[in-house]
Each structure stands twice: as C-alpha cells, then as structure tokens.
Symmetry: none
Subunit: 413 residues, 2 copies
C-alpha cells in the first residue's frame, strides 16, 4: 500500500515557494504505514492536475493533493478533480454556510468569490476547515482514496491530522509504525552519524537516520511492527541506546525545542529569566516566548541595538565599549550582569556579535558572537565563531540556539 503526493500551484512549480508541504506529508504518511513513492508538482492548469490525479490513482492506494482550493480564478483543483472523476461541480450547502459563518465571525462581509470554495465534485465529501475558508475534499477513484487539502501549511497540517490521519490509520490496519526523534545540539551531523553508525545499516528495523537543520541534528528512529506495541518497544529501545551514546547532546525528543526544554527546567526550579541581545535583535526573546506559558519565567528582554542603549538600559560602562568594542567578551559579561540585576531575574542571557553581511573586520569577522550567562553566584562568558558559509539569518538562528543551550547545560548541572 503506497501513497503519492501532488502539489498544485504556479508558485511551487516556478520555484517561488519551496515545497515543504510535500516533505511534511511524506513524513506523516510514512509514519502512518503508507510509504510515499513519488511526489509531483504541477501548475494551476486543470488538464495538468487532472492527468496527474488519474495517473496516481492507477498506481497507489492514497493520493494527497495540496493547493488550488483558494477563492481566486487560478485555483483549479476542484475543477480538475471533478474532471478526473467525470462528475460536475455542485454547491455543498454545509461548506457554503461554514464559509459565510467564517466571515461573520470576523465581522466582515463574505466576498462573492469565496462561495466557489463550496463547489465540490458530485459524490465527494467535504472536509471541514476550522482553520480557514477552503474545505478539503475526499474522493475515490476505484480503490484509490484521494484527499485534496489547502496549500496553506497551517491549514493543511491541521486538516491532515484531523480528517485524514484517522482514516489512514484504519486503512493501514494492524501494521503499525512508531517514530521517535531525538533532538541534539552541540555536535555536527557527521559526528552524530558516526556515533550511531552501527545502527544505521540499510534494511534494519528500526531504520535510523539523521538530519541537520540550523545547527540542530535530529535522529529519526522509525520502526515497523505487527504485534501490539512492538513498534513502540523497538523505537524506545533504540532511543535508550542512543541517549546513552550521545549523552547530554540530546536535549529533547519529538517536538521539543531548546526554548521549551529550558522553560520546563526554569518552571521546575521556580527560577526566572531575562535577556539582553544585540546582534539577534529580539530573536532570543522571541524564541523564549515562542513557548506558551513563558510568562511564568520570562520577565523581560532588552534589545540593545545601539551602544547608547547598552549603557542606558543595562549599565554597561561606556568606557568598556570604547576600549573593547561592543562585540567583546567584557561587554557580553557586563550586559548579562546588568540585565540580571535590572530585571531582578535569577538568570540572564546576553548576546553580542556580528550577524553580517556587513560590519565584519579582520579582527572581528562576520559570525563572531560573544555570550554572557549570569546566574546568582557567577557570570560565564562564551565565544563562538560561526563559519563563513552561514548567512545573517543562519548566524542569528544558531546564536539563539547556542545561548539557550548554554543555559540548558547550566540548569542540568
């Protein structure tokens, strides 16, 4: 039983948008026990979409389509699916009501165009969209189940989990797949891969793979089993093994982020945090407050972009900036100490560096970042030189991960 994925939209085909939907769906379908054998992406053409649907339906048991369900004239998945099925479009009253109610709740009149989103091919079923206006569509061609979902990632993911996954779980039946991801920070992908090499042989169950993203390396463990709980047990056994091998490189699992893990520890210890940042310009505070409930431990953040603001808000001595420069260990230390004191927090993290692409010098190149971490009894400093292959965004991302990881390790100790 295989699956295929079809992405619809000129923005994907012409390369304006990278098709992250397809990768996300592939992972989910694989986890559900429906291995994906193929993706395709086609433009907003009724003929192209229709032909792909027909060809996929002949090959596989499940096809998931994303995109082309919007309210404008270039949204053609509904029409294409109708042609693939050989049935006309009909107004689905429940969907029409839902769309009208959606705009009603926003206190806005429904544009006439949105009503076309309630047009579904005859004999298909609408998948309610609680997250937007476009209903999804469930159709069948022969043995093949077809799901058309919106292209907006947030809506697509919510609708897949809500409507599609339960049906596919039943389809996959006794055959179960368990997945666990260990999240690591502090070593490169090849180092993690080398440490786990003996378990990464092709054909092994569970299969083990690594993936690097913005400095974080994830270890993906996927097991298949038919006896109850077998897949889960296999995955857990591997996860235990790998935790022993990787030690405290592992900061969490599955959806854990560094910020969430740090937040849990702060809550456990009843401790509070404040941040003072220069080159990350708010991203560090943003990462901390990505976590719902972070107001329990996060007091405040200082985005001290100008030198004056470092002096004014954090009490960094102007002479210190003059003699060492704003990007220096002494300034990072003074920022963290001043931040902790003025915020009245237990811990304070500071960051000062050169995110580029401009502003680097031979002495202080782009990618040079200094960190400060103040705790009640001490203030630690740390320096990293991120590589030249990284751009501004990547340097800022990794700077935040590094800062949070410093705090994580301190809280572990």
């Amino acid at each position: 039983m295989f699956a295929e994925i079809l992405s619809v939209g000129n923005e994907v085909v012409c390369g304006a948008v990278v098709d992250e939907n397809a990768a996300w769906l592939a992972r989910r379908l694989n986890e559900l026990g429906l291995p994906v054998q193929r993706h395709a992406a086609v433009s907003d053409s009724v003929e192209a979409i229709r032909d792909e649907i027909r060809a996929s339906a002949r090959r596989v048991r499940v096809v998931v389509i994303t995109g082309g369900l919007g309210p404008t004239r270039d949204d053609r998945t509904r029409q294409a699916l109708a042609e693939a099925l050989g049935r006309p479009l009909e107004l689905d009253d429940a969907s029409a009501e839902h769309i009208q109610a959606f705009f009603g709740n926003l206190g806005r009149a429904m544009p006439e165009a949105n009503l076309q989103q309630a047009q579904l091919p005859g004999g298909t079923r609408a998948l309610a969209n609680a997250w937007g206006t476009a209903p999804g569509i469930r159709a069948e061609i022969g043995e093949c189940w077809i799901y058309a979902l919106p292209g907006v990632p947030r809506e697509m993911k919510a609708m897949f989990d809500h409507h599609v996954a339960p049906e596919l779980r039943e389809l996959a039946g006794r055959w179960q797949v368990a997945v666990k991801i260990l999240r690591t920070f502090g070593a490169g992908e090849s180092a993690v891969g080398q440490a786990l090499a003996e378990w990464m042989a092709p054909g092994r169950n569970p299969s083990v793979g690594t993936e690097a993203r913005e400095g974080l390396v994830s270890v993906r463990i996927v097991a298949c089993g038919s006896a109850a709980g077998e897949a889960e047990r296999l995955v857990e056994a591997d996860a235990d093994r790998f935790r022993a091998v990787l030690g405290d490189l592992v900061f969490g699992e599955d959806d854990d982020t560094l910020a969430a893990v740090v937040g849990r520890r702060l809550v456990e210890q009843g401790a509070t945090l404040a941040t003072a940042e220069s080159c990350t310009g708010g991203l560090l505070a943003k990462s901390v407050t990505d976590v719902s409930g972070s107001s329990r431990y996060f007091l405040r953040g200082y985005v001290t972009y100008s030198n004056e603001s470092k002096v004014d808000l954090l009490g960094v001595p102007a002479a210190l900036i003059e003699s060492h420069g704003a990007v220096s260990e002494p300034v990072a230390k003074a920022m963290a100490e001043g931040c902790r004191q003025r915020a009245g927090s237990d811990y304070a993290l500071s960051v000062t560096g050169i995110a580029g692409p401009t502003g680097g010098t031979a002495d202080k190149p782009v990618g040079l970042v200094h960190f400060g971490l103040a705790e009640p009894t001490a203030c630690h400093v740390h320096t990293v030189r991120f590589g030249e292959h990284l751009d501004r965004e990547a340097i800022r991302d990794r700077t935040c991960s590094t800062a949070l990881n410093l705090l994580r390790r301190l809280l572990l100790a």
Copy 2:
C-alpha cells in the same frame, strides 16, 4: 518550449529532505526562458526513474535531473538513464581520471566504489564536476535535452551555471520570460483576487496569480515575449495597472518585506525607531533587525513581558494597568509614548495582546491585540481581533506585520 525537473532519492521522497534543489532550478530555468511546468520526485528505483525520464522526454524540451549519481548502491540514475535511452553503461575514461585525480588532490586513496561514477550510458556526454566526484551527464531522447546533475546543492548549482545554462540560453534564443511579484498587506486573498479578476483569466499573457502566506498576499505576474524587452514591458504594464487598482495595499515587490520597506523610508527621512512589545515577545524587534543595516534607524527594543517591566522600563502608570488591564488601548498608547521618550527615537511602535493558546477571556479573547504608534506630534492606537483559527505563531506573525504596516502607512502619508 517547456522544462521539467526530476529529483531522485529516498531522502526527498520520504520527506527527510525538503527539495530546495527543485525550487532553485525552477527559478533558473524560468529566467532562461524555459518555463517549468512540472516537478517530480521519485525514490532510488531504476524503474521509477526510467519511467519518469521517458514520460518527461515526450512532453518537454528540457529535463533536469538531480540526485542518484553518488558512489553507493542506492545511486541509480546512471542505470535508469541508460535504460531510458536503451543503451548500456560504458566506462568514460576522462571521468575516471578526473575522479582519481580528485582523490589524489585530497591525498587520499580512491575508494573502488567511486569508479562506478565514471560509468555513463553510451552516446552521452560527461559534464565535468570541478566541485566533487560525480560527473553530470548530458543525453538526448528525440528532441528532448536531458541533464543529470548531482543532488548536493553546491555541486548541482555550480554545474548548472557552468555547463547547462549556456546551452539553454542558446536554445531559448529570443524567447524570454519576465516575472514580477507585487507584495500586498491589508486585504484577504479573495479581495485581491476579485480586484484583479479580469486579468487572471487562464491562458492570458502575462499570467497572473495570487498567493497568501501569513496575512500577506502576493500577486505573481509572469510574461513571455520574443521581441527584445517584450516580456519585461508586459510585466511592467500589468504591475502599473495593479498598483493603480490596489493602491497602497501594495507595499513592495519581489523580495521586499514590510520591515525592509519601512527601513528604507526611515533611512530616507533620517528618522529612528524603537519598539516596545509584550505578546510578540521580541518578534517585532527581530523583524525590524532582519534587515541588514537596520542599525542605522533601529535604536532599541523593549520586551516588556511582565507588568512590572512595563512600568519600570516604559513608565506605564501602574494604575493604568490596574484599571484597564495590560492588554488595553490606554496601555498600548502609554507603552508607545514611553518607548519613544525613553529611547529618544522619532517613532515608536508598541504591541500588547493575547497570543494564546491560554490567557484569553470572554472580554479579552485570544487574538485581541492593541497597537500604539508614537510619532513626534501624536500617538495613534489601533486594535485588531485576529480570528480564532490562528495559532500562537500565526497571531504573533500577523501582529508584527500589522504593526509594521501601521508605520509604513504613516510614513507614506
């Protein structure tokens, strides 16, 4: 004259890797005048790769394949291409020498497995790889030109630019494609689509499409032309038309972001900005400082997450918070005024709201956000209630876009 892109590899098909190669190639091929009409991704199966190559070669003039040229047993593009061509693999002496020399330069012995990378289908041409070991392959099936390139992005891009682009430029000849994207904020996709409906008819040149992403709606204009400059002229004419129709909903074009556009205006006016934010927790400052060079106008940001920090850092009267609550228009106003005054900036943006998922009440539901915008002569307030369908991340994203757009419109006036 159209092109198609084929990505080969289990890591793409199972979703472990997002297919950024395909998006990159699509943009390049479009720029060269060879519009891409389809991408596909298939697993490391000789049959699957072969069938895709054959089908694409019947449809289009150019096929670019990435991946499957490595030295291991799961690299099967060479074999698949040989079968699609109906010719056996043969050792290409020049490629074999190149691979041996590559290892020689690294001071390492060549693993035997790498020699299979010099096996090419008969009658094809090797594309030298100065950036790695795997040579690319150029083949023809009927009228269709086929290029197989490595999957490693750095090698693929360098080889495309070096070997493939010059040949395709000649093939495309006079035929040119021009693309322009208008970026809008402040209206939904259906409203924008309705305003532009008469230009979105299928088959029109330029083609016009809309795409919504986190509250921003983009209008994509793609024109083909054969006379010199014709495609450019068509695209510009549409862009002018649409700007007239959409007015100041249009904030920029192509790679413009709201933060970059606001930044340009601040630089033009020699004005400075500071931010004070609660529910966005640093994201607003982060968005402003995403722009390289933002230190010219961005002075500082206050992330006043706790009530105490609003009083302490911004001078918001404690009594105001007590009587109206931290999430209220008077507090948003006091935050902006205090921020502007204490930072000594020309403008200050403030945000206070409920990003959820917890913290909402009947009176002040999740998604309610108040904005303050202080300028030298006045302080404006604005309130938005984001819909219940949005999650924490989406509410925070749109809050930042809304704040930046308020400033943009003020700077325009």
